[in-house]
């Protein structure tokens, strides 16, 4: 396992509804925390990468504006986009630039201010993350796309709506102890019971998915600072090393997808590459962050990452194996379901959680003595798959 590139600083804003500031101020909050974490000044930074999904705010080419506000001019900067996995891909690009010897220290900042537009407009933008020529004309949106997978998966694999409910109950268990999460309330099984008039999670969205199966929009930013081994030793007494990076793509159009009951193929492909590069397997992972934009996505992730055999992701949630005390803790920061999903900030937020876990600094969310952590960040409807593996010093 090569220890060439480390995470030396992490930062994240509170994920909120209706952030009272502009995108540059939002990004600065995450940047400030990461810079203070690594004890850096702007002149130590060699380059910056900004990551978001376009069309939520009006700023075109945001990298220049944000680099200026963060005080990172005249160093090189640019913009990276793979919708929901933008900032994990930003970290991959930063890793590559450092590994190639172009730069010593790179700032990767993901941001999204979703509250600039209405929820229906947001659904339309996300739908257009699919195929605008052949699918958006039918009125597609993210919950419906993931619901196509859920419907086929449930029919074949014996997963039940109660299992999906229990994924949300788990997320809310940890959302309550993550002060940065947008959804801080607990969720009880009764909240999904359609016969209960107060069931806030039971309303149908896109069958079989209900309100409680869907993550919330939020405003937020994340910042990950990467360094080569020499600088990592100078600036961070607990560097967290990037051990493996895997990525893959899938055809966009639903009409060209393989069997919907088998989950997202990009996750499997990306995980295979990342495990091989890191020289580890699923059993070596101490703590994981997976892309639970919908409850079904977490179950599919268990299988895509090899934590459970194909078709048997349900066993992990039924046995509570993915709780903090379980054999493979997953999303013990509340995940996207409770933390919220500010598109461009999400990957960096997941990576921050893994880094804090590996530094034993995750507070009430801390798992016991983790050695290797993993982040699984999916862009679009299984369009871009990204798996990154991290290890402690």
């Amino acid at each position: 396992m090569a220890k060439d590139v480390a995470v030396i600083g992490v930062g994240q804003t509170y994920f909120v509804r209706g952030y009272e500031g502009s995108i540059r101020e939002l990004a600065f909050e995450a940047f400030r925390e990461a810079m203070q974490d690594a004890n850096l000044t702007a002149k130590d930074v060699d380059a910056s990468i900004f990551c978001s999904a376009p069309e939520y705010d009006k700023q075109r080419s945001p990298a220049g504006v944000l680099a200026e506000y963060l005080g990172l001019v005249p160093q090189p900067t640019f913009y990276v986009e793979t919708v929901c996995s933008s900032s994990t891909v930003g970290v991959k690009i930063g890793y590559s630039m450092i590994k190639a010897g172009l730069h010593d220290i790179v700032v990767v900042c993901g941001f999204q201010k979703m509250s600039e537009i209405t929820s229906a407009e947001s659904q339309e933008r996300m739908g257009r993350g699919g195929d605008i020529q052949w699918e958006a004309p039918f009125g597609t949106m993210m919950p419906a796309y993931y619901a196509l997978y859920a419907q086929a998966y449930l029919a074949k694999n014996g997963l039940t709506l109660d299992d999906l409910r229990d994924v949300r109950v788990k997320a809310a268990t940890y959302g309550q102890i993550n002060e940065r999460a947008v959804y801080r309330k607990g969720v009880k099984p009764a909240d999904f019971d359609p016969s209960n008039p107060d069931a806030k999670m039971a309303g149908p969205v896109a069958s079989p998915l209900r309100v409680g199966d869907c993550c919330a929009n939020a405003d937020g930013a994340s910042c990950i600072i990467l360094a080569n081994a020499e600088k990592a030793k100078i600036f961070q007494k607990k560097p967290v090393w990037i051990l493996g990076i895997g990525a893959a793509s899938e055809v966009v159009n639903m009409a060209a997808r393989p069997d919907f009951s088998k989950g997202l193929q990009v996750a499997k492909a990306a995980a295979g590459v990342a495990y091989k590069m890191a020289g580890v397997g699923p059993k070596d992972i101490s703590v994981a962050e997976v892309h639970d934009c919908f409850t079904i996505a977490e179950i599919m992730a268990y299988e895509g990452l090899g934590f459970a055999p194909e078709g048997d992701g349900k066993s992990l949630i039924r046995e509570k194996a993915t709780y903090k005390e379980g054999k493979i803790p997953v999303n013990v920061d509340g995940g996207l379901l409770s933390k919220g999903h500010p598109i461009g900030a999400t990957g960096g937020s997941q990576i921050r959680t893994i880094v804090l876990q590996l530094r034993d600094e995750a507070g009430p969310m801390q798992v016991k003595d983790p050695q290797i952590g993993l982040n699984h960040n999916i862009g679009g409807v299984g369009l871009y798959g990204n798996v990154t593996i991290f290890g402690r010093d």
Partner: protein, 135 residues
Amino acid sequence: MGFDKFGRKSFTSFTKTGKFVDLLAEGRVEGTVCKQCGAKYFPPRADCAQCLSKEMDWFELPKKGTLETFTTAMYAPFGFEADAPYTMAVVDFGAGIKAFARLSKDFADPKIGMDVTVRPLKYDDGQITFEIAKA
């Protein structure tokens, strides 16, 4: 006919496969097949990703496929609100050909694996699309 006529609301004005809309108007739902290597595509493509050819023919979708998966959306994105709820689905025709579309409005009680077909649909405002109906 321009491709802005396709679907409930089109996001694309021009495509080299614009004839698709004319074929819908004639009552046919067709994909493209590469004249050089025989690769079949639905939705249609103007270029073959298998052999790089740009010589394509049209072929009609099989009359019968099976319903692979579906979802009923209770809410709709901006611009589609008046249609909700509606059901979207994937049909598997076999041999690697599938189609994504809405189910017809009168399609009751969809079930995975049931026999279905696709057919053109004209909206009152002049838009034209295709939908999935029971076979």
